[in-house]
Amino acid sequence: MSAKDFPVIFELSVSGRVGASYPAPDVPARPLAGLLPAGQIRTAPPALPEVSELDLVRHYTRLSHRNFSIDEGFYPLGSCTMKYNPKIHEDVARLPGFSRLHPYTPPDDAQGALEVIWELERLLAEISGMDRVTFQPAAGAHGELTGMLMIRAYFDARGERRTNVLVPDSAHGTNPATATMAGYRVITVASDARGNMDVRALREVMDDSVAAIMLTNPNTLGLFEEHILEVAEIVHDRGGQMYLDGANFNAVLGMTRPGDQGFDVMHMNLHKTFTTPHGGGGPGAGAVGVKSHLVPFLPTPVVEKDGDRFRLDDDRPQSIGKIRAFYGNFSNLVRAYTYVRSMGSEGLRQVAETAVLNANYVLARLRDRFDLPYDRLCKHEFVLAGTRQKKQCGVTTRDMAKRLLDYGFHAPTIYFPLIVEEAIMIEPTETESKRTLDEFIEAMRAIDREARETPQVVRDAPHATAVRRLDEVRAARQPDLRWRHR
């Protein structure tokens, strides 16, 4: 370890230090040999760190300072909806009645928990225009898999063998990956010059072999699919199902409902639209809403209400089964429920209106400096291209994203969607103030200036972060995935 390196916790370890406290046995301690066969008893202890409680606190506190977070600053990440995570949600999730509740507690003794699930289902069904909602998926991609498996089960029950799934060329990577996991072949459909799905191209590929189309609306360009009703008609006419990737739901809350647009099934990312915290990569929670014809295939159990009692219904012969143990990421359901009860319908409509207003404002103030592949009013996010800076100054989108870090912002989403070269996708969300947006706009304009005047500063960025640009090639060629004691 060089003097410049931040220590790994194993490097702080001193033999004999302890970081936890536990009682002596209050029952007779017995010789292990009487309880376990010799071969089952561990001879070499795991080489875990031995540190004091203060060592632990200092190490992780210092690590936390080497992190960026919503609590600290702005994340303009497109399609991620990095909105503020309310603190009250943490207090609610922490209530012992929720956090200390075993999943196999008999339903009669878990009525409060079942009521949260039931009520959240009613609320999200109303918001999305779907008939029923499952919360078993642990994330959006998990929800996609659930939705696609239900579609598969639906066609199996009808005795129809359909082998293909349509996906737009702008789709998020989870969409084709999910379709493959569900046993389907993926066919890509092109977008048109306005950034909508190309309806003509769709007509050409839509036939009885297609089980479903997976769409995002607004799409990953941040644009509302203007022909959505026509798309729904084309797909439904040939008996296909409409799946919505609800990652961009924040743009249209209270303005339109996917169920009304013709979607048969959708997933919602509770860790995006419904503000459960991202946690450095997870946990999320994926809610999947379905229309009534798909209800029989929902994963089990389903929460049902008889009179004023709630129960878990496991007797669902056509269910796709289970995609994880127990019921779902329950404490995130508690957070999402608290959010919807705090906002109400007017609040959620303001969320969408403000998210879209903020995005169009930032777009209006950056479009003179960056290439704009689709010249339309956007929804809650928009896509620029760094092609001008690349061509004229030899500065790439990656360079500019890294330079933004020096200005105290997280980078936007870059190189996605794949159909835009040098893509930069920006989503402000409604929880950012105009002051923050103006600061971000100024930073982006400054970086464009730097690209023209002092390009090397941008190419070498970041300069002000804890570490500078990291050698990803070395990390992949010589993977070092665990600490080894020298």
């Binding site: 029952v27 875990l48 506190t61 992190n67 929720f98 498996l149 946990p283 109400g344």
Partner: protein, 462 residues
């Protein structure tokens, strides 16, 4: 002259605390955009699907109101602080040291995004690298990933990984594996054409002979759980030898990883992939989620493991740093050829598990595991000696065991509830031939007094 007292009408503010834009700022932004109203920004939504009335949701609640409402709902649940809990079966009531969530709950960890911009997220990346390292130590494996959704889905993805590695399409699964894990395996495997062959347990352990009879050249993996669903320890080495003898892999599910503080780890007896549930490591019961899927494997299978991996490298100045690596295996680059579709995972819970393992260290983990072992042994002996109760299986157990009861287990639980005790899991719903089976879990959280009170309550139950 008399003046009327001012009538004060308190109204809920129109401005919401999560939405900072003021009226004046909205006007200014609309002016810059060049549209007359916000309505104009939604003009591309077809009129036929444009909502013209508000969503029918209950009126919004202020913070004090919403806290009161949720508290009332929470109060209706019989949680493990209110009544001593003897339930296990894949979710464990362990003591979580205060440091774990004091640190993991910091806003810098809680509200951070996935660390794709590595320079900005060295804290998160390093914490996960440390977690990966600790998990390798605990399981005796070479490589661990940054988390899956939960133990059940991790086991399912391990089966898919075994299929990809061996290019075979069948797995042999012991029914001593958690029933919900087996259901999830079936849900994942069916659309991929992976055939599942279930081998019935014998006396609460995996029947090695039966496994040997079912295994063939089509078998990608033999799948067991250790300790198994009944709390019994499996003879992993023997089963690994049988699997390897036919060119199959041994996948070991671990629902109670605390046991590995005391037991020989799967890596030492021949497991190829460990797929586990990390809830026991510093995470709360949370009514079933979020939980922590864990996956670890051998060096030679490193490039096939699904999910994210954090790797160490250097920056342009030669400083050590951490990045997400081998990302090309993940969905966002490989797309339809991805080894899995996982994107968001359980990173925060992995962070908490790392803090927990570091807080306990090897001595602490061993000590707490022994407390589990002794207390469960004490309870097993006492209950097994009661009339109307019989320990079901002879095999050695860790902190869970099955008892066969003459009074139906559901009825026992009802009576125990009246005494303020949460009884074990009746097994009839999962195992028809164990309708009188009752799965009890005794962790370090159960005091001797609580165990004695349980035994006293069971005594004389007929």
């Amino acid at each position: 002259m008399r003046t009327e007292p001012q009538r004060v009408t308190l109204r809920r503010p129109a401005q919401h605390k999560y939405i900072p834009a003021t009226e004046a700022e909205r006007e200014e932004m609309l002016r810059v955009i060049g549209v007359p109203s916000v309505e104009a920004l939604f003009g591309d939504i077809p009129a036929a699907v444009r909502l013209t009335a508000p969503l029918r949701l209950p009126p919004p609640l202020s913070d004090p109101e919403v806290m009161a409402h949720l508290s009332a709902l929470a109060a209706k649940n019989a949680h493990a602080d209110a009544a001593p809990c003897f339930l296990g079966a894949g979710a464990y009531d362990h003591y979580v040291p205060s440091v774990v969530w004091a640190l993991a709950g910091r806003g810098e960890f809680l509200t951070a995004y996935t660390p794709y911009q590595a320079e900005l997220m060295q804290g998160e990346l390093q914490a996960i690298y440390e977690y990966q390292s600790m998990l390798c130590e605990l399981t005796g494996m070479d490589v661990a990933n940054a988390s899956m959704y939960d133990g059940a889905s991790a086991l399912a993805e391990a089966a898919v990984m075994a299929r990809d590695l061996t290019r075979r399409d069948e797995v042999v699964v012991s029914t001593a594996v958690h029933p919900e894990y087996r259901r999830v395996l079936k849900t994942y495997a069916t659309p991929l054409g992976i055939r599942i062959v279930e081998v019935p347990h014998r006396d609460g352990t995996t029947d090695a002979e039966a496994v040997g009879a079912q295994i063939s050249e089509r078998t990608a993996a033999v799948i067991i759980q250790h300790p198994n669903f009944f709390g019994v320890l499996e003879e992993g080495k023997g089963l690994a030898d049988i699997a390897h003898g036919r060119g199959a892999l041994l996948v070991c599910g671990v629902a109670e990883p605390l046991s590995l503080g005391l037991l020989t780890p799967p890596g030492a007896w021949g497991a190829d992939i460990v797929a586990g549930e990390g809830q026991a490591l510093g995470n709360h019961l949370n009514f079933g989620g979020p939980y922590l899927g864990m996956m670890a494997t051998r060096q030679e299978y490193m490039r096939r493991i699904p999910g994210r991996l954090v790797g160490a490298t250097v920056d342009v100045d030669g400083r050590r740093g951490f990045v997400l690596t081998l990302q090309t295996r993940e969905q966002h680059i490989r797309r339809e050829k991805a080894s899995s579709n996982i994107c968001t995972n359980e990173a925060l819970l992995a962070l908490a598990a790392g803090i927990y393992m570091a807080a306990l260290g090897p001595q602490g983990l061993r000590h707490v595991a022994e407390l589990n072992l002794y207390k469960a042994a004490y309870a097993k002996e006492a209950i097994g000696g009661l009339r109307g109760f019989r320990v079901a299986f002879d095999g050695p157990t860790f902190n869970e065991f099955v008892v066969r009861t003459s009074v139906p287990p559901e009825e026992i639980n009802r009576r125990l509830r009246r005494e303020g005790i949460l009884g074990g899991l009746p097994l009839g719903r999962f195992y028809p031939d164990l309708a009188d089976g009752w799965l009890l879990c005794v962790t370090e959280q159960r005091t001797r007094a609580q165990i004695d009170r349980l035994v006293a309550a069971l005594e004389g139950m007929r």
